[in-house]
């Protein structure tokens, strides 16, 4: 699919509907981006006010998802889209779901900040893993930014880069989890803190998974190829081939 295809329909309102839908997804994306951004800051600075703001923003994100659904239904019902237009609708619904889930995971990270502030256990921040939480969530933020840029430009190599980055984060996550499990064995650490940390780490990792899903959806949207359940070798080859382009 090519971006200029929006202008190719005879019906001006059809073009407009598709354009609206496209812009709406990016609007939702920028909301989640802002949410994630504030969340990273709130984790970094243990800022509970900012964390509360993040949780408030989630309501807006949820509303945006419903709006996208409404726009998709409107196009489906009125214009019976086919080919790349139909792929745009299907992708939009998928991306909206991923973004909404991302918003929920971001809220989970912010809850960590609130819980730690409530319990007054600020020394949790010195725990092994807290720094890595900041790192994973910053990289998740970067991935979200790149995946949204790739969606705007329908840029395959951008999407492929996001998928590769997600694999690196998976490895990082495995290492971090091992370290945190080690800490559980030492009794002098606060188990509750560690448990919260595990939740937050998990949430940050899930965010990168959703970013990867969106990247896969972009490839589906542009090429019509489905990357889900592709085995590792085939996937690596495929990614190489689109990056070479």
């Amino acid at each position: 699919m090519n971006r200029k295809e929006f202008g190719t329909h005879v019906s001006a309102s059809y073009n407009q509907y598709l354009e609206d839908l496209f812009n709406q997804i990016l609007e939702m994306g920028s909301l989640v981006e802002r949410q994630l951004q504030s969340s990273v800051l709130s984790v970094q600075n243990a800022d509970s006010d900012l964390a509360r703001e993040v949780i408030q923003l989630d309501k807006l994100v949820n509303r945006e998802e419903m709006e996208i659904d409404r726009l998709c239904v409107r196009v489906l019902a009125r214009q019976q889209p086919t080919a790349s237009d139909l792929r745009l609708i299907v992708s939009s619904i998928r991306i909206a779901v991923d973004l909404e889930r991302m918003g929920d995971e971001v809220v989970k990270i912010s809850r960590l900040v609130l819980r730690l502030a409530q319990s007054g256990k600020l020394d949790c921040q010195n725990l092994q893993g807290y720094k890595q939480l900041v790192e994973i969530s910053s990289r998740a933020r970067e991935m979200l930014k790149n995946v949204l840029d790739a969606f705007t430009r329908l840029d395959l190599s951008g999407a492929a880069a996001v998928i590769e980055e997600e694999e690196r984060i998976d490895e990082l996550f495995a290492v971090v989890m091992e370290e945190v499990t080690e800490r559980f064995k030492e009794t002098d650490h606060d188990v509750e803190c560690l448990l919260q940390l595990v939740y937050a780490l998990r949430a940050a990792e899930r965010i990168t998974d959703h970013a990867r899903n969106i990247a896969e959806t972009i490839i589906y949207l542009v090429n019509g190829q489905d990357l889900r359940n592709m085995d590792d070798d085939a996937l690596a080859e495929f990614l190489l081939s689109i990056q070479a382009k």
Partner: protein
């Protein structure tokens, strides 16, 4: 400029003449053939069909030429067709030259745009990108083929989205490109060329940092100076208290030292006040300020300060107060009145008015003082700006009064205007927007 030559007109051309000669020749040949063979009708028919066939041939040839837009100048035929071909070639040639010129001019503009140090992005009325220059590519990470995308799809910063939604394009916005980026950017939208916009984004990191450094420096330096000064002041006061034990030679110097150290303390306090005002958030928490009673107190203070040397006329015409910071506003009023006292010779008049117009609430101080030269008026609110160095220092004051006034009034969205004539007097008028009006019965 390329002048467009008129298409060669038929009157002035010899081609019509050529055509007539051609027709004449054809007719004479027909006559000769008819005379020789006796088949008159056939001979004329032959001549006529030759003429028709030639015309048809050139008609089709010309049609092909126009359709294919081929420009290799083919041999121009004889007769009126020659005119048509000439005119067509002339026209095509002119068009080609015009297109070339336009292309050069467009390239020139593009190249100039690319050399500009600030990012320039042209948008249409739906805020879709039309083109971006090199700086936009470097500064913002946009790409040349981003044309057609909505700008907020690529610049998703909160400030940018709000700016385009609210459409307050007379103001500029400032934002960071991303969370970890330290580059501070300033963006301004300018509308141009009938429903197009030019988004100009510049890197103001240096200016932004410089302003921050200056503010911090002033705040820190004044804070650091305060402590040693307090010690000096304390001992000087102690010495003055036991003036009898001082050698008489030192009495005068110690008094002067004390005065100067007090003055220095005032300057430092004013500097701290200024930096506090600057550091405050734009939207301050405001409360009800009862201007009328504040001015009544001010009248007493003014009389004390002047020592009965000036005639005061306080006209409090409006009972309404303001929504604002009372301490800050008090210092605005005090500053303006004490300036009037300071710069009005003994026996002069000072009018203070508080009144209301349909759009504004006005505080006005008018005096019959020495006045201010026109060239100084725009610079009055600068820090330490002195109209006349010698006089101002002797009359005391820190040189920061009007700077403080300006900053406080900015926070209240009020406007300060100064009208003055040398030797006649000055008027300082503060206009508060009517939106800040608060009457006493509304308070409880």
């Amino acid at each position: 400029m390329l002048s467009i030559k008129p298409v060669s007109s038929l009157e002035s051309s010899s081609r019509l003449f050529e055509e007539l000669i051609g027709v004449g020749t054809l007719l004479s040949i027909a006559l000769i053939i008819g005379g020789l063979s006796g088949f008159w009708a056939l001979a004329f028919l032959l001549a006529f069909s030759t003429y028709l066939a030639r015309n048809l041939f050139y008609f089709l040839h010309f049609l092909n030429l126009v359709r294919s837009r081929a420009l290799e100048p083919s041999k121009v035929p004889f007769g009126v067709w020659g005119d048509i071909y000439d005119a067509y070639f002339e026209k095509v040639f002119q068009d080609k030259r015009r297109i070339k010129r336009l292309r050069i001019e467009t390239d020139q503009v593009y190249n100039a745009m690319n050399l500009l140090p600030d990012a320039h992005i042209s948008l249409n009325e739906r805020f879709q990108i039309e083109w971006v220059n090199h700086s936009a590519e470097n500064l913002l990470g946009l790409r040349r083929n981003d044309v057609g995308h909505k700008i907020t799809n690529l610049l998703r910063q909160k400030e940018m989205v709000q700016y385009l939604e609210l459409k307050h394009f007379d103001q500029a916005i400032e934002f960071y490109l991303s969370a970890e980026s330290t580059r501070r950017l300033s963006a301004k939208m300018v509308s141009y060329f009938d429903k197009h916009y030019l988004l100009i984004i510049r890197d103001i990191t240096d200016a932004h940092n410089l302003a921050q450094v200056r503010r911090d420096f002033v705040a820190n330096a004044s804070h650091e100076l305060r402590t040693p000064l307090t010690v000096l002041n304390g001992y000087l006061e102690l010495m003055l208290d036991s003036a009898d034990s001082l050698p008489p030679v030192w009495a005068n110097p110690v008094t002067q030292m004390h005065q100067q150290s007090l003055r220095m303390q005032n300057i430092i306090n004013d500097l701290l006040t200024l930096s506090n005002i600057e550091a405050e958030d734009i939207e301050l928490e405001s409360d009800y300020v009862e201007v009328a009673s504040m001015l009544q107190k001010l009248e007493l203070e003014a009389n004390q300060l002047s020592g009965g040397k000036h005639n005061f006329h306080f006209n409090i015409e409006s009972k309404d107060g303001l929504l604002g910071k009372s301490e800050a506003l008090r210092s605005v009023f005090t500053n303006l009145v004490s300036n009037a006292i300071r710069y009005t010779p003994n026996g002069g008049d000072i009018w203070v008015r508080w009144y209301q117009t349909p759009q504004t609430l006005v505080f006005e101080v008018k005096d019959t003082g020495i006045g201010i030269d026109r060239e100084h008026i725009p610079r009055l609110t600068e820090r330490f700006y002195r109209v006349d160095n010698a006089r101002s220092r002797s009359s005391g004051g820190t040189g920061l009064g009007l700077a403080i006034v300006k900053h406080i009034l900015e926070r209240h969205h009020a406007k300060l205007s100064v009208y003055s004539r040398l030797q006649v007097g000055s008027t300082f008028r503060v206009e508060f927007p009517i939106a800040l009006r608060m009457s006493s019965d509304l308070v409880d």
